[in-house]
Each structure stands twice: as structure tokens, then as C-alpha cells.
Chain length 293, copies 2
């Protein structure tokens, strides 16, 4: 989906966040934002915001500050924070009436951990949401289609989104493996650090390689921009019977691709994406993004 | 005070607000924001944000949409909404133990009505705040200095901020006139419509001319940029024994001018201005902006 005015605000918010995080001087802030404004004044709004964020905003900030991975400690912290409660959450899944459905919902709950978007993450938010898991309903609900297709699935690509969240993705993938042991599972990550998005390094921290083959997009976008991804990533994307793409960034990159088996799974965090789906902020979405038959 | 990254975000927010209000097409939004980005990429951050907002963001939006006064109806609505309760609020003042102090506090409460800044205005906010008026404390408190100086004041310039709010300014000015009948009072307004700021037309709607001589800054800035104001405005500013400047826009424009009798009166609405004062968001401020002796 195309970028928008609201996305421009989010780009500026990211500069503000990083300026605080990295204690960037006022003089350097001015240099950075002006470079960004210059490029934004010339970019095509046909592009999706993850592409603009990666190729302009993030690139300029990280190059100007000479810091390629400013969220490194924060990403590690959230990965570890969720790893610390891995077994507790896994037990919630294992003792539930429907392991698949509970693990799926918890994976979407994990999408609340996102430093890029508008909503703040509170350490307790995940647990509070899990307590109310029975109240969760999917506003767009392709769970039936996903379960149907898993039965005959040979290869699945699960594209991750944010650190911390990936621990909950891992639990869901474990349940998929348990129920459908013959599926070859890939876990898609970003090709380079961008915001709090998962990279190979981050996925390795949570031992995602125990349950899936980690595959990098080959790009530094906080979302999946398929045409710019590596040939290997594209091949896996195209040959997978099922693709589960987590979060807003992957939604923004993939929402214009209509195909059977492409499941966009997210918590809606901003009204611009909400309007596109259509859904409201904080709605749960599992949308098979195929052409309407 | 200089502009900042956070002010840039507020500029973008204003474009988003106006795009919704005027139902601007996505294509035109892109044209507008890119023109703005181009100019912001070249402007000096030594300037205050009201100057940037007026000379770049607001100018480009209103010229591109050919609409010089997009908040016209909203401004009239808030003026009338507050006029409708004028006598009720005046009675609160007249029946209070300290008319001057109550009217002053209510004038600051009126500063909550602001479409430009980060906090949303709820119709009941003013009344809820008036109910709790006894709990209000000034974090920076030059009330004693103001009262002392009013005793010998011959000329007072009261620089308004937003529509709606000006009705409460009028009540305060009425009380000043009652207590100090010999003061010549000017009411400063913007030289052209900008956001919801008061112009001569808006001041006339609330009959401000009954209590003060209306004087325009001669500029289209949502704040007082003295060096760019008309000679007449500058003369009145410089010859007034007391200047009371309401709101953040006037604070941003005037905070670097240190002189006896310049009182900056506002409710803090953003942390950037808060840090400059220093104070917190929603703090009440009455600051005589003189050189420390």
C-alpha cells in the first residue's frame, strides 16, 4: 500500500525517538531532519512507507550517527524479557482447549510490542492481553482457511516482525510443527537492522533456528517489499503454499499482492492501515489476501 | 525560542488536520507536503516555529487549496460557544473572593482551547477546569509582580491567542478595567487568519472593542514575532508598561525578549516549550520575562 501524510508523521516520530535514544545534539538533529525532508520532498508516494522509512529516514539517521543498530540493546532486552516468560506462556497454550487457536492469538498479541508505531508498549500489556484472550475476536477472520490449507501444506514461510514478539511467534510455530510435522517452515527476517524489526541475529537469540529455517529478505526495510527482496527470499515466498506475514510493515509491503495462502496477521496500530483493511486500531486481523472469488 | 524536531511533527500534524477538515485529495496532499518538506529542508532552525508555521506550512496549504481561512467556521463556533456562557463565567468571577485572581486563572484555562497544539479540546474541559479552580497553582508565578505594576500602569497591551479563549480574556480585561480604570488597554491580534488564532474579525465577533483597542500584529504568524510586526504594533509593544502575552505561540515568539513588564501567560501544551520554561505539560504559567536581577 502507498505511503501517506500520516506515514510522514511516523517518519518524523522515528527521528524524534532516535534523537532521544541516541542523545543526538540539536545541531545534528537539524542536519538529519533537513536531509530527510529534502529526500521526502522528491520521493514518490506510490511507494509503501516501509520502503521510504528504510531507504530514506532510517538510512539517513543511521549513516549520520554512524550507528547501524541503535535499537540493539532494546531488541535484546525485549527478546530476553519474553524468553524469560516463554515457558509460562507456552503452558497457557498447552493447557488451553484449543492449542492452535490460543497460540495464534498470542502470536498476534505479541504484535503489540512495537517501537515503530504509534502505540506505546507496556511490559504488562502482553500479559494483560493474554488474560483476556477469550474476549479476542478477529475482525477479519481467515482462521478456517488457514487451518484448511495447513492440512495439505508442504512449505510455509512465516515472516516475522518485531523483537520480543518473535518469542511468541516461536511458540505458535512449535504448535504448527506439532500438529503438522511434515511442513517445511521458513522464518523470514529483515536483511539488516531497522528499528526493532527482527534480523537473523535477533532470531538466533531466541533460537528460532530450532523450529524454522531463518531466511533474510536481503533488504533493510521494516516490512516485506517483495520485488526488492533477494532472489532466494522471493523464491521461498513464491514456492511456499502458505505465507504468514506478521505486523503492519509486512501488511504495507504485501497488501497489494493477491494470492491464495498469503495470510496477513496483525494487530492494527494506526488508522491509515486500519482504513485500508478496513478495521479499527487494536483490531485483530488474520486476512487471507487472495483475489475475491 | 528556536524551532525543533518536535515542532516539525506539529507542522505535519497541522497538514493532516487540514487535509481532513478540507477533504483534500490524496494527490493534493502529496503536492502540499512535498512543497512543505522542500522549504523545511532549507529553513533555518534558528527561527521560531510560529514563524515557520506561518511562512511555510500554513502559507503553502492555504495557497494550494485557495482557502485563506479554513478554520473560519470553527473559530466562529468556539467564539459563540464561549459567548453563550459568558455571563455564567462572569458570575463565577464576580461572586469569587478574589475577582482579579479568578479572572486571571480563567483566562489561562481558556488557553486550553487550541487546535494547533497537541492536546485535544473537549467542550466540557473549560467548565471542568473552572470547577477545580481552587486547585490551580502557577508553577511560575509572577502574579504579585503583575499586580504591583498594574497600580502604576498607564498602557497595557494584551496579546490574544485563540478564538473561544478570547471571550475569557475579555472577562479578565473587564476586571482589570474595573480595578484600574485609568489604564489604556490594547488587544493584540494576528494580521491574517492562521489556524484558530484571533484576528481583528474574530476579536470583533466577541466585541473586544468594548474593552480594548484592537491592534493587529500585521503578520500571519501564530505568535508574536516582534521584529516582523508592523511599526504600529512594535510601537505599542514598546511603549506599554505591561504586555500580557497569552499562549504558546506568543511565548515562542517573545521568550527571548527580556524586559520588565512582559508577562507570558499560558497553559503548557507540549514538552518542548515545557523544557524551555521549564515546566510540565498542563502547568499554569505567569512569567515576567525580565532579566534576572
Amino acid at each position: 500500500m502507498k505511503t501517506s501524510l500520516m506515514c510522514m508523521e511516523c517518519n518524523i516520530k522515528q527521528v524524534i525517538k532516535l534523537s532521544k535514544l541516541l542523545n543526538i545534539s540539536k545541531e545534528k538533529q537539524e542536519v538529519i531532519i533537513k536531509k530527510i525532508f529534502k529526500e521526502l520532498s522528491e520521493v514518490s508516494f506510490e511507494k509503501s512507507n516501509p520502503e521510504i522509512m528504510g531507504s530514506i529516514t532510517w538510512k539517513i539517521i543511521t549513516e549520520t550517527t554512524n550507528n547501524k543498530n541503535p535499537y540493539k540493546e532494546i531488541k535484546e532486552y525485549y527478546n530476553q524479557a519474553l524468553l524469560d516468560v516463554f515457558q509460562d506462556i507456552k503452558n497457557v497454550v498447552l493447557t488451553s482447549d484449543d492449542k492452535f487457536d490460543t497460540a495464534l492469538k498470542i502470536a498476534v498479541i505479541g504484535n503489540v510490542i512495537d517501537f515503530a508505531a504509534r502505540h506505546k508498549f507496556d511490559q504488562n500489556t502482553v500479559f494483560e492481553m493474554i488474560e483476556k484472550i477469550n474476549e479476542i475476536d478477529f475482525v477479519i477472520d481467515s482462521r478456517k482457511e488457514l487451518i484448511d490449507q495447513l492440512k495439505n501444506c508442504k512449505q510455509l514461510l512465516y515472516i516475522g516482525d518485531n523483537c520480543g514478539e518473535i518469542v511468541l511467534d516461536k511458540i505458535f510455530i512449535e504448535i504448527i510443527k506439532e500438529l503438522y510435522p511434515n511442513i517445511k517452515i521458513y522464518f523470514g527476517v529483515r536483511g539488516a537492522p531497522i528499528i526493532n524489526d527482527v534480523t537473523t541475529e535477533d532470531a538466533t537469540q531466541v533460537k528460532m533456528d530450532e523450529v524454522a529455517i531463518i531466511i533474510s529478505s536481503g533488504t533493510m526495510f521494516p516490512g516485506t517489499i517483495l520485488e526488492k527482496s533477494s532472489d532466494e527470499f522471493k523464491k521461498i515466498f513464491n514456492t511456499s503454499d502458505i505465507v504468514i506475514a506478521k505486523g503492519q510493515g509486512n501488511y504495507e509491503g504485501l497488501s497489494d499482492i493477491k494470492r491464495k495462502g498469503l495470510f496477513l496477521m496483525l494487530l492494527v496500530k494506526c488508522s491509515y492501515i486500519g482504513d485500508n483493511i478496513p478495521a479499527k486500531v487494536m483490531d485483530f486481523i488474520l486476512k487471507e489476501n487472495k483475489l475475491k472469488s
